[in-house]
């Protein structure tokens, strides 16, 4: 490689890494704010955070493009923001604003904007795998190429029939689907030894006939490289790709959960690292950013989050008296109490 090209490639890597870091940071700052709103009693229902999983999620969000399909799961704030969700819309859903995409009809992580390819998860794990595959199938029927669909699950979801059916079907159809498995060691409180019996979940990829990738989910540079490669391969027509990342959930299942069941040994092990700290080290060591620049980015993220929360918290809440209590789109076929 010529010196000029090597330098160009390094610039690109630096740019990509900084973009990922920005989303990681914005996600972290927003989630810290949501946690504090929850503790202050301002959020009804659950708050589910992605602390520790930001590198993986942001890597995926930045690998996807406008026009792709993305069905995140509960610890994907970073990926959601990178895929174009605004801080305001994320906050609106948590606070129940009538002006948010879910309008108080659904909350917290059960949000999306499906009209632009950002699907809204249901709580039934694994269910989004086949839905994203269906979206990709539709795109293919319409003759669109170069589209990728991605969905995230945890190791717990890999135990569901939906996960199996969805990935198998996508593999049969050779759809450009990327499945990211965040193996965060606990499905709520259940440890991996009670969840699966294979040596490593990435072995399962072979059973579906799809390429499997294994990464350290606490290492942002590994996440960026591998996830972007998997997405590029799917985009190039190489069929479904499965990425398994080992990491640790650095929070409870939700903010209601003190996760006292979590092993201390895991917390102090390498997968217990905070990927945001690792990113900061990697960026400063590479000379891609100074600590002062990274601090300034945090201040900027905090200002953005404060502004969005200040707006969302003043917005109108759903009103049962003016709510449109009609579950179907075809109003002439509605029946029951709403008529």
């Amino acid at each position: 490689m010529s010196q000029a090209r090597a330098s160009q490639s390094a610039d690109k890597n630096q740019e990509r890494y900084l973009a990922v870091y920005r989303w990681m940071l914005l996600s972290r700052v927003l989630e810290e704010k949501l946690s504090s709103l929850y503790r202050g009693g301002k959020i009804t229902g659950g708050v589910f955070l992605g602390r520790g999983q930001e590198a993986l999620s942001a890597s995926l969000g930045t690998a996807l493009r406008k026009g792709d399909i993305f069905a995140p799961l509960i610890r994907d704030m970073a990926g959601r923001l990178a895929f174009g969700e605004t801080v305001l819309n994320a906050t609106r859903t948590y606070l129940g604003s009538r002006l948010g995409p879910m309008r108080g009809r659904d909350g917290n992580i059960h949000r999306g904007e499906p009209a632009r390819g950002y699907y809204a998860m249901i709580s039934h794990l694994g269910a989004m795998v086949s839905a994203v595959a269906g979206g990709l199938f539709a795109r293919r029927l319409r003759g669109e190429t170069g589209v990728v669909g991605a969905t995230c699950v945890g190791e717990g979801a890999t135990s569901t029939g939906s996960f199996h059916e969805g990935l198998n079907m996508a593999a049969v159809e050779k759809l450009p689907l990327v499945v990211i498995v965040a193996n965060n060691q606990y499905a709520y409180s259940t440890v991996n030894a009670r969840q699966y019996a294979c040596a490593d979940l990435v072995q399962r990829a072979a059973g579906y006939g799809v390429p499997g990738y294994k990464i350290d989910g606490t290492d942002p540079s590994a996440c960026i490289e591998v996830v972007h490669e998997a997405v590029a391969r799917a985009r190039a027509g190489e069929g479904p790709q499965m990425v398994v990342a080992d990491l640790l959930r650095l929070v409870g299942h939700g903010e209601h959960d003190d996760f006292n069941y979590m092993s201390h040994a895991l917390k102090v092990s390498p997968i217990g690292r905070d990927s945001l700290d690792v990113a900061r080290d990697q960026l400063t060591t590479a000379g891609w950013a100074t600590p002062a620049q990274l601090d300034a980015m945090r201040d900027q993220a905090a200002a953005e989050v404060e502004e969005a929360c200040g707006t969302a918290i003043r917005e109108p809440l759903p009103d049962p008296n003016t709510e449109d209590w009609c579950a179907i789109h075809t109003r002439r076929l509605a029946e029951g109490n709403q008529l």
């Binding site: 399909i69 995409p101 879910m102 309008r103 009809r105 659904d106 059960h110 999306g112 904007e113 499906p114 009209a115 699907y119 809204a120 249901i122 709580s123 039934h124 269910a127 989004m128 795998v129 086949s130 839905a131 994203v132 595959a133 269906g134 979206g135 990709l136 199938f137 539709a138 795109r139 029927l141 319409r142 029939g161 939906s162 059916e165 969805g166 198998n168 079907m169 049969v172 579950a327 179907i328 789109h329 075809t330 002439r332 076929l333 509605a334 029946e335």
Partner: protein
């Protein structure tokens, strides 16, 4: 009511099953958004041949799925979000329980939650036939009708099988299309209709003044046989074909009961809850004063659907058991 306008020679009788195939053929021809996904439906043409020849005529749009009902429905939901009009064939209604999560949790909630409609049609070959047994005979309509966000169609005639399937694909919501396997070959019409009653309107299948039978799907024909038999004794039994169970045309049922004063609700499904219970509850709460006798229900027995014809013939309502119930109602 629909009018028969022959589109083919009158001598060429069309079965209920052929009407379903013809509707799918028309949908695939007219609407590029339509595709069909199900088990054994492509080159094989489906377990009942409802898609016979369609894969060849519409390449890439009639596809075999793995044995994965959950993924079949999930796939349809994603495709619908992207603007397609998928039709999912369940090989038997009974197997739709394997796709239940995607149907009632995902498809049914999508529009309410996100504002994006979910126009999918799921065809359920429903109901009992001799020898089919516990897992190939069930009537699932009530399970789906229970959930907000779903339309449930239960066509009883060749004409409705055709026009309601066409309408199902037009509807911007998930539609469960309960097509009755017993009617597949038993029912014939001279021609396919070009005009139809809209979904949500029940049909007076036989007018009468002494009692009302409110029913749907294959039980319409057992009820008509009951009415014909009792007519020999001078009784005039009105038979209402509900056509869809959700929406349920309560107005037409109440109007009938206001004329007859007596109600028997007949269904092939299990007795606990369900469509007949809903009918009786609505008439009791909205039309109690119209009744001259306590309303009655007749359903299948509260056991799995039996295999042997000797048992199956008694497990589900038939003209004979409907006549017996009706005699009790007329005396009440």
């Amino acid at each position: 009511m629909f009018q028969n306008q022959p589109t083919t020679r009158a001598s060429a009788a069309i079965t209920y099953l052929e009407a379903i195939r013809a509707a799918q053929h028309k949908l695939l021809t007219d609407d590029p958004r339509v595709f069909i996904y199900g088990q054994d439906i492509a080159d094989f043409g489906g377990a009942f041949k409802a898609t016979k020849g369609l894969a060849k005529e519409f390449p890439g749009r009639v596809l075999d799925s793995p044995i994965s009902e959950d993924a079949q429905v999930g796939m349809a939901i994603g495709a619908a979000i992207e603007g397609m009009r998928p039709i999912i064939e369940m090989q038997f209604a009974d197997f739709s329980t394997c796709g239940y999560t995607q149907i009632v949790q995902h498809a049914a909630t999508l529009h309410w939650r996100t504002g994006v409609p979910c126009p999918i049609v799921i065809r359920l070959p429903s109901g009992g036939t001799a020898g089919a047994g516990p897992f190939h005979s069930q009537s699932m309509e009530a399970l789906y009708a229970h959930y907000p966000g779903i339309v449930v169609m239960t066509p009883a005639t060749v004409e409705d099988a055709y026009t309601m399937l066409l309408e199902a694909v037009e509807i911007d919501d998930p539609v469960i299309f309960c097509e009755h396997k017993y009617l597949y070959y038993h029912l014939k019409a001279d021609a396919l209709p070009t005009v139809a009653l809209p979904t949500g309107k029940a049909r007076v299948a036989r007018p009468g003044r002494d009692a009302t039978i409110a029913t749907y799907s294959a039980m319409v024909h057992e009820s008509l046989a009951c009415a014909a038999e009792l007519a020999k004794e001078g009784w005039e039994i009105e038979v209402i074909d509900l056509r869809s169970v959700k929406p349920l045309d309560t107005d037409t049922i109440l109007a009938s009961v206001s004329r007859t004063g007596r109600l028997l609700a007949v269904g092939e499904a299990f007795p606990w809850g369900g469509v007949t219970a809903e009918i009786v509850a609505r008439v009791a709460t909205e039309g109690f004063d119209l009744l001259d006798a306590p309303p009655m229900r007749l359903n299948a027995k509260d056991t799995p659907v039996p295999y042997h014809p000797n048992l199956w013939g008694t497990h589900r309502p038939t003209a004979t058991s409907i006549i017996a119930a009706m005699r009790r109602l007329l005396k009440a």
